[in-house]
Amino acid sequence: MTSIEIGILGIIVMLVLLLIRVPVGIAMTIVAIVGNILLSSFWPALNKLGIDIILITQNYSFSVIPLFVLMGLFLSKANLGADLYEVINGLIGRFKGGMAIATIGAGAAFGAVCGSVVASVSTIAAVAVPEMRKYDYDTGFAAGVSAVGSTLGVVIPPSTALVVYGALTEESIGQVLIGGFLPGIMTMILLMITVYLVLLWKPKLAPAAITDKIPFPWKKIKYVWAIPLIFLLSIGGIYGGFFTPTEAGAVGAFLSLLFSVSIGRLKWPNFVDAIFSSVRITAMVFIILIGGKLFGAFLTRSLIPKALTDFIEGLHIAPFLIILFILLIYTVMGTFMDEMATLVIMTPIIYPIVMSLGYNGVWFGVMTIMMLLTGLLTPPVGVVSLVAASITKVPSMQVFAAQWPFWITLIISSVLVAAFPDIVLFLPSLMY
């Protein structure tokens, strides 16, 4: 068998293993081990496996993952997401659609610092949907909006998915993280505009301007002010060159701990829960990362990425069309696969092609994550929508149905980022 045939066989075997429910990272590891044995020989391949496993888990750059996850879980366990929603809702909730817009804003802001989309949507949906129900918002619309807003945390730094992309491609993790900021903010604004447009089209989904006075929750300000400050210190630290991403994660986690304890919101059981959840998420991400790195190395040895690159270059198609086709593949895969799974499976295959077309790796990373974000909302696997449906007891089909205008907005936002790469690259270009 030629090396390319071994590579193709490896991809097929991996897909079969995924279908029989072997965990993603393990399926990729199996293919990498067997493939490397076929491409070299038995003992050298196994010997290299042991070395690679340890090198990946001892990579300093990857230590950013547990620390940012910890930061988010401290804030989440202190229930600060709910306070954030109440404050934003107190500011704009009384306007037509204001509560839905507040939900998207709070979802984006809390999702950004939280690090876990599921934790973010659980927090925001639990507080925002009952409030919107109270004021006669359509329940499907309310649950849908809470899910949509929370997904933005996947793009806005710190984002585990962006770190994993950086780790897989050896792009600068700091630059990839910072690159996600402007697209995330732009998407948030576009989603808010979508709320306005949807309510112009279907005014019955939300009440007219609320005449009851929604009291501004002044008492909550003392809890909420720390969230943007912690975000600015940690992410601003990376941007200004004061911290490595790992240091930013540690400072963010430490400040979150300090603040949550000082306001009396983080008791011992919550603290332990946050720690244990963080290490479990870290272990899960690293098993995927180990598999992704080993699989990527195997594919490179099999020469498949090179063959694919040569083939695509030979087609003489405009690079932009190829990028659009690649992003379409990501969107379709994202609808039935976990976003992390799609990311680690596709990146080793697609990244070399994108680089050969002359595109920027940081830009493509953010683009990839934005396309995967749409998959978090679409059936059958749209995990964020399902969590929102489960927490709010709204039928999942109602949630999915309410989200399609927002899904189109996410696609428009991705197309804008594809057409204007500077939306991603502007901030990283100014970094120290």
Partner: protein
Amino acid sequence: MRGKIKKINYYMQYVSGFTLVLLMFLTVADVIMRSFLNQPIGGSYELTSVLLTFIVFYAVGHAQHYRDHVVIDVLYDRLPFRGKRFISYLSSIIYLIITAIMCYVVFFYSQQLIATNATTAILKIPHWPVVVLAAVGLIGYFIAIIADLLFLNEGGILSNDVD
């Protein structure tokens, strides 16, 4: 037996959690000392790398009990009960073999490190004990899969819910 395995992984998770807290404080202390005293902690990068190993490998078994590892359920969800049991057995056995291989190769690597007596560059921490301890952590992963097989033998099927 299954309960004992879960307990072992539960306690191993404490090692991981304690190490994470240690990593946070170490890194913050390094930032403070570098920024305000112009005296960074020597070898903090090396320590971070070592600590990360423990964080990952001592939680990986417990993550398996909590069904945290990402699986694709597209086919599985559409299968009848017997089909699910068959797939669960098949995937668990494959999973068990691969975790055994991972344990073995990491142990094997530690033996090579003993022979070469390799250490980290600044703090001169010997590599081999770290790698041996990583392999011990991976044993937690291996026995977590055994617990899954025992659960299957008791008539259960694997799902994303913690059993």
